[in-house]
């Protein structure tokens, strides 16, 4: 806790934890059998209690192959993976071994050919589109190698994008003070307050990735999926980003799954798994 950035971050996270404490559950919801996730509860940002609190996300026997004409190219050949709550997991592997594919399947952007993904004890890979949209919007944060900010929007608007997607015009306008405060606090945390009004093309790569991190955190997700977040940055900037992710993991208890092909970056995570021949090899 030496660095002012991390102090701000921890303070912010603690405050939000308090302001967004979920409302008390009704008996009806508590009695709901595990494994059935209602859309209403998803939208409120809560999921039924988990049987095994240690495993935030579980993948079992994930298989995925791409079809090139008549030939099937298997990419994932049976992935078994457990991610504990609060864990910082790095997935390494050679280029083209299927790391991004795995991350997309875990993040419900893509569906596996077979196998299951569970999040907080509920199966999520077969949810209807609307349910997956809410999961990605409120429960998962995602960052990418190429940042993927929307070029027409300013940094602040990019950070607000998940809320704009979640809320209609009137709700958003009614909450705009709160939302703006959340966004500028996040921007302050990642050190981008002075860039709030800039368009992404006016930012450096490191700044864009920090803006993307702020965006991924705005809706208060439990899990961050990071696809080579430092892949396009120089060593020093990459290190700063890794510092930021590390602090978020330690102080907020944010669970992070990070994909990288750089072993030195992976070494900064709690645990590293290697993807070889479409299967997971634990170190």
């Amino acid at each position: 806790m030496s660095n002012p950035l991390s102090i701000a971050a921890s303070q912010f996270l603690r405050e939000r934890e308090e302001s967004e404490r979920p409302p008390r559950r009704t008996d009806q919801e508590r009695n709901r059998p595990a494994g059935s996730t209602s859309r209403a509860s998803l939208r409120r940002g809560e999921l039924p209690s988990v049987a095994n609190p240690k495993a935030l996300m579980t993948a079992r026997g994930l298989k995925k192959s791409y079809r090139k004409g008549p030939i099937q190219i298997p990419v994932l050949r049976g992935i078994d993976l457990d991610i504990r709550s609060g864990e910082f997991l790095a997935i390494v592997g050679q280029s083209g071994c299927g790391k991004s594919t795995l991350l997309h399947v875990l993040g419900t952007l893509d569906a596996p050919d077979s196998g299951e993904v569970h999040f907080e004890g509920n199966r999520i890979d077969n949810l209807p589109a609307a349910g997956r949209d809410i999961l990605r919007n409120r429960h998962f944060g995602m960052i990418f190698q190429f940042y993927h900010l929307l070029p027409e929007l300013t940094t602040l608007e990019n950070v607000l994008a998940p809320w704009m997607i979640a809320e209609g015009v009137w709700t958003f306008l009614r909450h705009r003070r709160l939302r703006r405060r959340q966004a500028s606090e996040l921007l302050e945390m990642v050190g981008l307050t002075h860039r709030a009004k800039h368009k992404p093309r006016e930012l450096s790569g490191g700044e864009m990735q920090r803006a993307a991190i702020a965006r991924s955190l705005i809706a208060g997700p439990k899990l961050l999926l990071a696809d080579e977040p430092t892949g396009n940055l120089d060593k020093e900037t990459g290190r700063q980003i890794m510092d930021l992710l590390g602090r978020l993991n330690r102080e907020r208890g944010l669970t992070i799954i990070m994909v990288t092909h750089d072993d030195s970056i992976a070494a900064l995570a709690d645990r590293t798994v290697r993807l070889v021949d479409g299967r997971v090899k634990e170190y």
Partner: protein
């Protein structure tokens, strides 16, 4: 929320979209202008045609006419009397008009109409189109002492007109002066020539060579055929005639009317006589008339063909008066109906009552049906063509939107990875199309209404720039281009254009909605 914001940002950063706005705008504007002008023309023309023609025309199929107007009018009254406001008998006959100007003789085909000045005003507003203020109140076929309007009394803005100076002296003063000059110069008799009275030409016809005069019931009357039976043209006139303005004058390209014949001049009219005796073929006769007024309905078709003369006079010279009964034939009976009565219904009642091989019954719309239908069809075709312009704009939007969807594929993937639904992404592009449509149609609406409002100024400006009159007043005798803005039509145009813009964005929007998030994210 993101739909609105992104839609707005895309609108502001994609200038290519302006191209489709412009084409929507042009389509909407031209459609509004064309419809307003066409509606204006139609309604102006209907007004004029209706002003000239009576509600219903009851006519005999034969040019010889039907015997005894009184009987027919009584019969009509018996059938549909409760709907009728006024009736007036008329005689219509094709004829030839001749007059001399500077030694040249002009011959024009005309529609000679004998009207009863006492009752004709009750069926149509002929009076409105005359040039003498007293004739407008009550037409008289006697020459006035002067006082003809030198400015068109129907014009909205008389200050723009070129005065008709020749009409200032028209009437008796002109006739006297002309007679004086001709007697002084002792010119060979030209227009005053009375050597062509019809009795002379009649003398050569087979009618006179018939052995027994008693066979011809009109033989006795032939001797009384009206001739120019006065000595001094400065004191007397022939029977009066009202000439259509295009028969009496030519209009220069500047819009000035140069009169060849003025009230006070004499003209010769050649017309077919009737042949009530089946053994006789009809022959032509010529009579002299004195122009007493000029008729300007501003419908070139009528102004170039109508000549009105007194009904009784025409019946006499055509031999339509029955010598024994003193009752005369008429070719038509003009009928005016009470306001609000359905013309077609009364027409059909009359058609059922009178046998069609002898009588025809027509409404004013029937009479000008072809013209009105032509204008209507023209409007329809123009509308279809112009709507195609908007459809082309729609395809432009389609193409541009597909481009934008391709260009934005990655961003669409990002939005989906952030939890945007397919519907939400679709909403961006539908909203985008809707705004293009609304903006384009809105600007087009404003531009169209502005053009309609200043259409005459614009036409004048174009005429000055190109040196070609865009709107030739000598064709229609309209002072300006008539326009009517029909609110339902304009509303449909605007809504239709907006709808096309939205429909054109549906396909690209669906494509965007259906993009697979991972493929969109990987898209380079």
């Amino acid at each position: 929320m993101f739909k609105l914001l992104l839609c707005w940002r895309y609108l502001r950063t994609r200038y290519i979209a302006l191209a489709s706005i412009v084409s929507v705008m042009l389509g909407v504007a031209t459609m509004i202008v064309v419809n307003s002008v066409m509606d204006g023309f139609t309604s102006e023309m209907q007004d004029r045609i209706h002003g000239i023609l009576s509600d219903l025309t009851f006519e005999s199929v034969s040019v010889d006419g039907m015997y005894d107007a009184e009987y027919h009018m009584a019969e009509i009254r018996r059938v549909v009397g409760q709907y009728i406001e006024g009736m007036s008998p008329t005689v219509h006959v094709p004829a030839m008009l001749r007059y001399d100007v500077n030694g040249h003789t002009f011959t024009r085909p005309i529609n000679l109409i004998g009207i009863d000045e006492a009752t004709y005003a009750s069926v149509g507003d002929l009076g409105k189109y005359l040039q003498h203020p007293d004739n407008r109140k009550q037409l008289r076929f006697t020459l006035r002492e002067g006082g003809y309007d030198t400015l068109d009394h129907q014009a909205q803005d008389p200050s723009k007109l070129i005065p008709r100076k020749q009409l200032a002296t028209a009437g008796w003063p002109y006739r006297r002066e002309k007679a004086r000059m001709q007697s002084q110069s002792a010119m060979p008799p030209g227009i005053w020539d009375t050597t062509i009275p019809s009795s002379q030409s009649v003398a050569k016809t087979p009618r006179e060579s018939l052995p027994d005069d008693r066979i011809n019931p009109f033989a006795a009357r032939d001797a009384n055929l009206p001739q120019q039976d006065f000595e001094d043209p400065a004191e007397h006139q022939s029977a009066g005639a009202v000439l259509g303005i295009a028969l009496a004058s030519v209009r220069t390209s500047e819009g000035e009317d140069r009169f060849l014949v003025l009230p006070g001049d004499d003209v010769r009219i050649t017309y077919p006589r009737t042949s009530i005796d089946p053994r006789l073929e009809p022959e032509a006769s010529t009579s002299v008339f004195t122009v007493v007024d000029i008729y300007e309905s501003k419908m070139s078709e009528y102004d170039a063909s109508f000549v009105f003369v007194p009904l009784r006079k025409l019946q006499e010279i055509r031999g339509m008066v029955h010598p024994q009964t003193n009752r005369a034939n008429v070719t038509s009976i003009q009928i005016k109906l009470k306001p609000g009565v359905d013309l077609d219904e009364v027409r059909d009642l009359l058609r059922n009552h009178f046998p069609a091989q002898f009588y025809g019954v027509y409404t004013w719309r029937d009479k000008q049906g072809a013209l009105l239908a032509a204008v209507h069809m023209e409007t329809m075709i123009l509308n279809i063509l112009l709507f195609l312009i908007i459809a082309v704009a729609g395809f432009g939007i389609l193409a541009i939107f597909f481009m934008i969807v391709f260009e934005k594929t990655r961003d669409i993937g990002v939005l989906k990875s952030l939890g945007a639904s397919g519907r939400g992404v679709m909403g961006i592009f539908l909203g985008y199309g809707l705004s293009l449509g609304i903006v384009g149609a809105g600007i087009g609406l404003a531009a169209g209404l502005a053009i309609v409002h200043y259409i005459n100024e614009i036409a004048n400006l174009l005429a000055r720039l190109t040196g070609q009159p865009i709107f030739d007043p000598s064709v229609y005798y309209f002072q300006g281009i008539p326009t009517i803005v029909n609110v339902p039509t304009v509303t449909w145009i605007v809504l239709g254009a907006t709808l096309i813009a939205v429909l054109a964005s549906v396909l690209p929007a669906r494509r965007a909605a259906g993009l697979h998030p991972v493929e969109a994210l990987r898209y380079e």
